[in-house]
Symmetry: C2
Subunit: 222 residues, 2 copies
């Protein structure tokens, strides 16, 4: 299994920290990024407490992205465009995985926001045209990621993208989360459906007071 140098931009949020923990736990080298180097180090230290032998360091988002092979965007949609614009030079040529969920919430619950570019992943591609954008890792709950289970093997990671090589990296990185390769859901524009599907899962979570996940049946596994 290949191991990667992964920068998690927004790695202090629950989703980013949970993914960083999973990748570090299963043999990748992770840099937790944040706007604040101090907060990044706090999150990295929390992961190292649980995984003393793992490779987990910290940096500002910009420095983390600079040094990584794979950059994961795990930031809120609010402020996403400015952040990607500021990092665009550092993302050039790199595999960039967007797990951004553009959602709104009102009295009826969660809903998918209308993103002018179709999806946050497509917006990022427009702002960082030399990045090798992939959408993926939108659906696994932050609480479950941060939990004790060895693998979240009741769920699947879905990925999409127009750069087949970059997408294959994300498919491989899914193993650290679910124990299985990710499911290739097609072209980058499918990110619109993957991102807003998170509203369905949150809505189910509220109804059933649970943490739901999505599994895809019928896909051959290796």
């Amino acid at each position: 299994m290949a191991s990667y140098d992964i920068a998690v931009v927004g790695g202090t949020g629950p989703q980013g920290r949970g993914l960083a923990y999973r990748w570090a736990r299963h043999g990748h080298r992770v840099v937790v990024g944040s706007r604040s180097a101090e907060r990044a180090e706090e999150a990295a230290a929390r992961i190292r407490t649980r995984l003393p032998d793992a490779s987990v360091s910290s940096a500002t988002n910009a420095d983390a992205a600079q040094g990584a092979q794979v950059v994961v965007l795990a930031v809120p949609y609010d402020g996403h465009d400015d952040l990607v614009r500021s990092l665009a030079d550092r993302l050039a040529g790199k595999v960039v995985i967007s797990c951004v969920n553009p959602l709104g919430f009102d009295r009826q619950g969660p809903y998918g926001l209308d993103v002018p570019e179709g999806s946050a992943a497509q917006a990022a591609q427009g702002l960082a045209p030399q990045a090798r954008l992939v959408g993926g890792f939108h659906h696994v709950s932050a609480v479950t990621l941060w939990g004790e289970d060895e693998y979240l093997d009741h769920e699947d990671v879905l990925v999409c993208g127009d750069d087949e090589e970059a997408k294959a990296v994300a498919v491989e990185l899914a193993r650290a989360v679910t124990s299985r390769p990710g499911v290739d859901a097609g072209r980058l524009r499918i990110a619109r459906q993957l991102e807003t599907w998170t509203a369905v899962l949150i809505s189910i979570n509220k109804r059933y007071r649970t943490r739901s996940g999505t599994a895809i049946s019928g896909v051959p596994r290796d």
Copy 2:
């Protein structure tokens, strides 16, 4: 288990015929509807050939809807609004389940269409304001529905709606397909995500040459 009188509007298409077959197979009384009474009867006869003891009859869409407790809209999105408008009086007060998938296809594959009302289910609710609209049954493949398996128990049926009683009927009707109650995914507007998710499954089917399905993990089953 309650049994229902179900009219499948558009019951000659692969999705509608497959659902009609499943409901008839598991104890419901089904009327296959079509614009043409002859084509409706052909489809009903095909189902009866496989299920000689089941209750499967045929009628025009309008007559089928008139006599049913539950009306299932299993029609293409193209022409959907005109059809619902023409049936609006007959849908008043009834549980109406929309499994309509507003999708487009181009060289990149399938994609979700922008529906002005948000979703086909919401469009139907606007055109038939006295109908008790539920969205559901969008994702199970027509081929699998028409297959031999007793239940499609690797998948879930997701339903959504603003009328809790109507939604409970759809949750119950899912048992005939998956052997389990459907998953309540929230308010009617979530239909936007359920409908366009079908593009993800079709895209996965093309990549893997398979018939994929969606299962929701973490939801308590009865």
